[in-house]
């Protein structure tokens, strides 16, 4: 029974999936190249939202331009993180990455709470309140723009990875690190760029998140989990997997909520995750590298 409500729910699924696609893609790139998993990725999204918020309120910058500022700032933070924390534990026990992530989560959340306070914030966008309605179905222009922006970013990412030198170096490192080192690729530099790129994507996701939803220092946790669910479903290291996984995830979440009620919102994600992993432990698209 296809009601307008169901179509609306599907539409929301696509719209909310987009932000998670950005986050998941960033995670995937970092994993693909560095074989590193950062559980504090959602906190980078949160910081991105706050930075975008600060430049829009303090400098009066347009909310959509603030996305670029957020991307740049979070990329820099990512570089710092890679250099001073993750690089030190890369190559040691896999569990150490989890521990570092946990420490970072505490640091970021509380630093944000100290700098901006605990109160909930929202970024006001110039498109606020405007909707596109077709019959019974409506979608705000903010959400349409976020879908558009995500598409633009993904295309730019694709071009970066396929056409530029650094992109080539990243792909080479992700496939066979020893071979790429022999070919003269500066692995340390590649790692730096990779993390910066992943962080920039998280920053963009955060700036978009701040426009569409309201946020506070603790919002980073759930998006991380959803991003992970997406990349595991789509296949660790696979970018097309992240896109398909993100859309699937958003649609599944929203239709489940529509039919079963909001209570199952979070649990559905994990149920889906566990089912996929039990059937196919390497995800739908399989794992790249390894």
């Amino acid at each position: 029974m296809i009601t307008s409500g169901l179509i609306q729910a599907l539409l929301w699924g696509v719209a909310s999936g987009c932000i998670y696609i950005l986050l998941a893609t960033g995670l995937n790139i970092i994993f693909g190249v560095m074989k590193l998993v950062n559980f504090a990725h959602g906190q980078l999204l949160m910081i991105g939202a706050y930075i975008a918020f600060t430049v829009t309120t303090a400098l009066g910058l347009n909310a959509y331009l603030a996305i670029l500022v957020a991307m740049g700032a979070v990329a820099l933070i990512g570089v710092g993180l890679e250099r001073f924390t993750f690089r030190k534990v890369l190559g040691t026990d896999k569990l150490n990455e989890i521990f570092v992530s946990l420490g970072l989560i505490y640091v970021f959340e509380n630093a944000a709470a100290l700098l901006w306070g605990n109160t909930t914030r929202q970024i006001s966008s110039p498109l606020q309140g405007l909707q596109l309605s077709i019959g019974q179905i409506a979608i705000s222009y903010d959400r349409l723009s976020s879908i558009l922006i995500v598409v633009v970013i993904l295309v730019a990412l694709f071009l970066l990875l396929k056409k530029t030198k650094i992109g080539l170096a990243m792909r080479a490192t992700s496939q066979k690190i020893s071979a790429s080192m022999l070919m003269g690729v500066n692995t340390e530099k590649v790692y730096m760029y990779t993390f910066a790129l992943g962080a920039a994507l998280a920053g963009a996701a955060g700036a978009l998140y701040g426009i569409i939803f309201n946020f506070n220092p603790t919002i980073g946790a759930l998006p991380t989990i959803k991003a992970f669910a997406i990349i595991i479903i789509g296949g660790l290291g696979s970018i097309p997997g992240a896109v398909v996984g993100g859309l699937l995830y958003g649609i599944a979440e929203n239709t489940a909520v529509y039919f079963l009620g909001g209570v199952w919102q979070d649990a559905i994600a994990f149920a889906l995750l566990i089912i996929v992993l039990v059937i196919r432990p390497t995800g739908i698209f399989g794992e790249k590298g390894e």
């Binding site: 998993v37 989890i98 989560i105 100290l114 660790l236 995750l273 432990p281």
Partner: protein, 354 residues
């Protein structure tokens, strides 16, 4: 079967004999003596809110430690803490069995659930396992909340107590903790423990050598979740009131932090880590007024105008940094550092004597 029994019995005997001759033995005896005497000398509040939780979390952290020693770093251990707590209390209330039996049954059920979770996790690598276990803990919260009519999870309810709070409960916990940690120690030192280590180091190679990695990973899960459930039951006794917040993510991160800070993989690490974290949690909040006076809105250097109470976030920020420093600079935890300090002290005393 008989041979298995006599084999493990003799290996346990061997382990105990070797241990009793070692340096560690006198340490352990001293530590246990201190743990037995100190509660008699401090006030009730310290016993109930500091010392007893130290023991309970020592069990919890040790259980996580055992699982991690097989390379399986679970991020959802709070689920088992909660299952143990709820089941032990619910069984005692609904069926009227003595709460101590409820405690045991709660741990058994936790182990049963752990077995099922372990089954789904046997083929998974570290990061997948972390996510799945985390996801599982979220699902458990949802299920318990949905079945609120039966579990009473949302509003919570008081726990039926085994013994009175204060010293009786402390010594009960002490006894249970001693037995639990001893058991886990014996497991980790046995052939099973060796298999864990091999799997942790390189699962592929372990398989090559003929170790049934799936079987041992599952064993690790069952033992670990049994003791996590036991800790949960004891925790429900300690806070006297069980509610769904016990499943929270922070409780999943706690054993992780305790093991890292204390020393992952060792037997004393989780105990030391638990003592440190519980002490920090209990006593550090007292510096809040001082922090507020220094850095708060009306303080000497009002660095953070947006916050009315800087104590809480500053403390957690400090904890995060502390964890980072430990992982990066002292990945084996604080216990080796403490050991080194102890040895240096001994040496200098020896030199003085000479």
């Amino acid at each position: 079967m008989k041979k298995l029994f006599s084999d493990s019995f003799s290996s346990i005997k061997r382990t105990i004999i070797t241990f009793s001759r070692s340096q560690k033995f006198s340490f352990v005896i001293a530590a246990m003596a201190i743990a037995a005497i100190v509660p008699l000398l401090v006030n009730n509040y310290t016993v109930n809110e500091v010392l007893t939780p130290m023991l309970i979390f020592a069990i919890y952290a040790s259980s996580w430690n055992l699982l991690a020693s097989s390379g399986q770093g679970s991020l959802g251990h709070a689920a088992f803490l909660g299952i143990g707590g709820f089941v032990s209390a619910l069984i005692a209330i609904k069926t009227g069995v003595p709460p101590i039996i409820g405690l045991f049954l709660g741990s058994l059920l936790s182990a049963a659930v752990g077995f099922l979770v372990g089954l789904t996790c046997v083929r998974l690598k570290a990061w997948f396992l972390a996510m799945v276990t985390f996801g599982f803990s979220v699902i458990v919260v949802t299920i318990f909340s949905e079945l609120d009519d039966f579990t009473g999870a949302v509003l919570g309810f008081p726990t039926p107590l085994i013994v009175d709070r204060g010293l009786p409960f402390y010594y009960l916990t002490f006894a249970i903790a001693a037995v639990s940690i001893l058991t886990m120690y014996l497991v980790m030192k046995s052939k099973i423990g060796l298999a864990f280590k091999a799997i942790h180091q390189n699962e592929f190679e372990a398989k090559m050598v003929g170790i049934n990695t799936a079987k041992y990973r599952l064993i690790a899960f069952v033992i670990s979740t049994f003791f996590a459930g036991l800790a949960g039951g004891l925790y429900a006794q300690s806070i006297q009131y069980i509610q769904v917040s016990v499943f929270g993510a922070e409780y999943s991160f706690l054993p992780l932090m305790m093991c890292v800070i204390g020393g992952l993989g060792t037997i004393e690490g989780p105990i030391v880590g638990s003592a440190i974290i519980v002490a920090i949690d209990s006593y550090l909040p007292r510096i809040d007024p001082f922090l507020n006076g220094l850095l708060g809105q009306d303080g000497l250097i009002p660095l953070f105008p947006a916050v009315s109470n800087v104590g809480s976030p500053l403390r957690f920020l400090g904890l995060g940094l502390f964890l980072l420093v430990i992982v990066i600079f002292a990945p084996k935890g604080l216990t080796p550092l403490m050991k080194k300090a102890y040895h240096n002290l001994r040496r200098s005393l020896k030199e003085e004597k000479n």
